[in-house]
Subunit: 443 residues, 2 copies
C-alpha cells in the first residue's frame, strides 16, 4: 500500500524497472470481480526477466514553447511527460496493476485520509466526469442538494446534478465572493439536504472557499448532509485534510496542481459517502460513471489484483504515478505552503501594478491562480497575444457576467515549485510590459 | 476539413512545427458556444514564432518489453508514443484547436463518410463511454432497442442501455456465433425498435458480425430503426463503409486497431442519428456523455474555433492525430486487406496446430483477433505465463460460459502491418512451443 520511496531518482523509471523484475503476466484475463471469483495466485507464477533498462534517465528536453500559465492544464515535469510515452502494457498485467494500485494508495496520502473506508477512483475522463460520479451515484432523483454558488463551475455542477434528477437549490454569491457561513446555516435550516456541494476554488473567479469551518458547520447543523467538494483547481495546491475535516467527497482532475496531463478524473469518497451509495433505493443513473461498476475494480487494483470493467489508460496512469511520487517525496504541507508563498508574491506584484483581483477579499483568494481585472481601456483580446509573444500564456475570462473584463493567471505545480524555471518572474514582467505597451500606466 | 498530406515524413512532427508557425493564442478563453458568441478573428492576430524544432525525428527506442498481442491495447508505433509526451498546451490555443480539428476531420475518412451531416466525437474516456453516448442521447426511457447478442460485450451494451431506461430485447446467439439475418428479420417484424445494436467484433469470442447485409435488411424491414455499431474491436481493422452501408452510429476506442493509447472514446454518428437526438422529448440523461454539451464543441474544434465544455487531453489527441495521419497515408482498403491477410495466415497456423477457434464459421471470424480453444488438459493459467516468458502476451478468456477454456490473440496495427517486427511469427512459434512444453501434441 505504500508508494515506493525514491528520493534520489526519477520514480517512474525505477518503477518501470521494478515492474520488469516483478512476477508478470499471471492470467491475462480482464474479468470483473462481480462476475468471476479471483483464481489467480500470483505467488505461484514463474518470474520472468526481460532485458534490464538503464537506470540513467535520459534528460528529456521539451521543445521550446510558451510557458503555459493558465489555470490548467499546467506546465508538466519532464519525467511526467516521459511516463506518457510508456510502452504498451496490458491493463491487467501484474506490472500495470501494481502501478495503478500504488497510484490509488498514493492518492490517500495526497488527500490526507487514513480511514480504510475512504475510496479513491481514477477514471479515464475529464474532471467534469467527477460531477457525474457524484450526481449519478450519491444522489437519487428528487433528493435535495444545496450548491454553493461561486461562478461558472458551481453552475456547471448544479446543471449536472439536475440532469440526474436532483432537486438543486443554488445559494449564489455576487461575482468574486462566496456564500457566508450564516447564509449557509440559514439555508441548511430551511430544508434537509442529501448533500451540499462547494467549489473549493472556482476557476472562473479565483475565489477560494474555506472548507474546515464550512464542514464543521454542516456537521453541526445538518449532520446527515454529505459534504462534496469540487477540488479540480485545488487538490495538490490548497490544503485538503479529508479525514480531519470530515469531507465526504472530493472530485478533481489530473491536469491542474497534480501536474499530470489531462484525461483522468480523480476522486476520493468517504466511507459515509460509499454507505450512502450502497443504500440507494434505485440503481446508479449512469453506466460508465457508475460506482457499482468501478468500486470493485478500484479495490482490486489497490489490492494488486487484475480486474476489468472498462480499459483504463496505462500511459496516463503511469504519468499520474510519476506525478504523485514526486508530490509525496516531500510533506504535502510544504507543497501547500509553497503555493501560498508564490501566490502571495504574485498577488503583491499585481497589486503593485495597480490591478484589482476578481476575488477582492484576501481571505477568499485562491493560491493556485489569480483572476485579474483588466485596467480600463485594456482588452484581453489585445493583451493575451502580446503576453504570448513574450512567451507566457494566460487565460481569458470565463464567468459570463465579467467575461471580457478580466484575465486568469494560473500558478500551480513546477512553475511555482521549481524556482530555477523563473516562470513566475517572467510572467509578472511580461504582464507589466504588455500593459505598458497598451498604454497603461498605474494611476 | 482535409487533413494535411504528409506522405514522406512523420506527420506529428511536421504538424508540431506548423503549429509553431501558425497564428497562436488568440483569446485564450475556454467558452462554450451556446453561452457566448465567437468574437475571435484569428486572421487579425499577431503571428508569433518560437524556436523551430528540428525536422529529424529522433528515433525513439521503446525499452525491451514483451510484445503485447491481446485484443487491445495493442503495440504502439514510436511516433504515436512520442506524441503522448507533447509539451503542455492550452486546450483552447490555436495550435491545439487545429490539431483537434484535423483529428476530427481525419476520422471522417477512416469511417468513410463524406456526408457533412455526420458528426464525429472524441471524448476523454474508455471505449465503454461510447455506450453511454448512445444510451443517454439517442434513446429515451421506455424506448425499445434490439441488441444482437454475441457475447460479453453485447451484454455490456445491453446493461448500459437499461441503465438509461431503454427497454432492451436481446437476440442471443450461441457462444461463437451471431444471430442470423432471418432471426433478426423476425425480431424486427415483431416490434418497432428505436435502434438495433450490433457488436461488430465481440472481443470476448472473436465473432465478426457482417454489417452490409444486416444494414440493408434493417433499412428494408424497419427503416426508422437506428443502426448502431459497437466498433471497439473493428474500427481501423475491419471494413466500415459508414455512408454506403447507411450506418447511424459507430462507437470505438483509441487503443485497438487505431493504435493510440487508451483514454479516448471515439465515435461517428449519422445526420439521421443527430436528428433523432435533436428530436428527443426529454433532455439527455447523462451530463459528461451529453451530446448537447459536446456537439457544439466538436463542431467548433473542427471549424478551428476555440471552444470549451470540459478539458480534453491534448496529449492523447496529439497521439490520435499521429495515429490517424499514419493510417490515412495509405488507402484504408489496403489497411483492411492487410489485417485480413495476416488473420488468414494466423488462422491457418492455428488450424495447423490442431486448435479450434471459438468462432467456428470462417465467415464469422474477426480479422484483428482470434479466440482459440485450449486443447484438452492445457490450462490458460499455465500457458499464458509460458508465452510471456517467450516475450509474447496473449489474453485469457472473458466470456463467462467458456472463460477458462480459451485464450485470445490480438493481431492489429503495427504488429501485423509492419512485417519487419516479426511479431506474428514469434507469437505463433511461441504458441507452438508453449503447447509442446505442456505436453500437447496434435492428435
Amino acid at each position: 500500500m505504500t508508494p515506493p520511496k525514491t528520493p534520489d531518482a526519477p520514480p517512474a523509471r525505477l518503477s518501470l524497472i521494478s515492474r520488469h523484475l516483478a512476477p508478470v503476466y499471471p492470467i491475462n484475463t480482464p474479468y470483473a470481480v462481480e462476475r468471476l471469483p479471483s483464481t489467480v495466485d500470483t505467488s505461484l507464477l514463474p518470474r520472468i526477466q526481460v532485458r534490464e533498462i538503464t537506470t540513467t534517465t535520459p534528460k528529456m528536453s521539451q521543445p521550446a514553447h510558451p510557458t503555459l500559465l493558465i489555470p490548467g492544464p499546467i506546465e508538466f515535469d519532464d519525467a511526467v511527460l516521459q511516463s506518457m510515452s510508456h510502452f504498451s502494457e496490458s491493463h491487467v498485467s501484474a506490472g500495470f496493476v501494481a502501478t495503478f494500485g500504488e497510484t490509488l494508495s498514493m492518492l490517500r496520502k495526497l488527500f490526507q485520509t487514513t480511514d480504510p473506508a475512504s475510496q479513491p477512483f481514477v477514471l479515464s475522463g475529464s474532471g467534469t466526469l467527477g460531477w457525474d460520479l457524484v450526481a449519478a451515484n450519491l444522489i437519487e432523483a428528487g433528493e435535495d442538494v444545496l450548491v454553493l454558488g461561486t461562478g461558472y463551475f458551481s453552475d456547471g455542477f448544479a446543471d449536472c446534478l439536475r440532469v440526474y434528477g436532483a432537486n438543486v437549490t443554488e445559494l449564489k454569491a455576487p461575482v468574486g465572493t462566496k456564500p457566508t457561513l450564516p447564509e449557509i446555516e440559514k439555508a441548511l435550516s430551511e430544508k434537509k439536504y442529501k448533500a451540499i456541494t462547494v467549489t473549493h476554488v472556482d476557476t472562473s473567479t479565483g475565489v477560494l472557499s474555506e472548507l474546515k469551518n464550512l464542514s464543521a458547520l454542516v456537521h453541526k447543523v445538518s449532520p446527515d448532509t454529505l459534504i462534496i467538494v469540487d477540488g479540480v483547481c485545488s487538490v495538490a495546491c490548497e490544503e485538503i485534510d479529508f479525514d480531519a475535516w470530515g469531507l465526504d467527497g472530493v472530485v478533481t482532475a489530473s491536469q491542474k496542481a497534480i501536474g499530470c496531463p489531462a484525461g483522468l478524473s480523480i476522486s476520493m469518497f468517504s466511507g459515509r459517502a460509499m454507505k450512502a451509495f450502497e443504500n440507494r433505493k434505485s440503481p446508479p443513473s449512469a453506466y460508465f460513471a457508475s460506482m457499482k461498476n468501478w468500486t470493485p475494480i478500484m479495490q482490486n487494483y489497490e489490492a494488486k489484483k487484475p480486474s476489468y470493467f472498462a480499459t483504463p489508460s496505462p500511459q496516463l496512469v503511469h504519468a499520474l504515478h510519476t506525478a504523485l511520487s514526486q508530490i509525496l517525496a516531500k510533506p504535502v504541507a510544504e507543497r501547500f505552503a509553497g503555493h501560498k508563498a508564490a501566490s502571495d508574491k504574485i498577488k503583491a506584484a499585481i497589486g503593485a501594478l495597480g490591478l484589482k483581483q476578481v476575488a477582492a477579499n484576501p481571505d477568499e483568494q485562491a493560491h493556485g491562480m489569480t483572476a485579474i481585472y483588466l485596467p480600463e481601456g485594456v482588452k484581453g483580446a489585445e493583451l493575451l497575444p502580446i503576453l504570448a509573444k513574450k512567451g507566457v500564456v494566460f487565460a481569458g475570462g470565463i464567468h459570463k457576467e465579467i467575461v471580457t473584463k478580466y484575465i486568469r493567471f494560473g500558478h500551480m505545480g513546477v512553475s511555482v515549485l521549481d524556482p530555477t524555471r523563473g516562470d513566475i518572474e517572467r510572467a509578472v514582467k511580461a504582464l507589466e510590459e504588455g500593459l505598458a505597451e497598451l498604454g497603461y500606466t498605474k494611476s
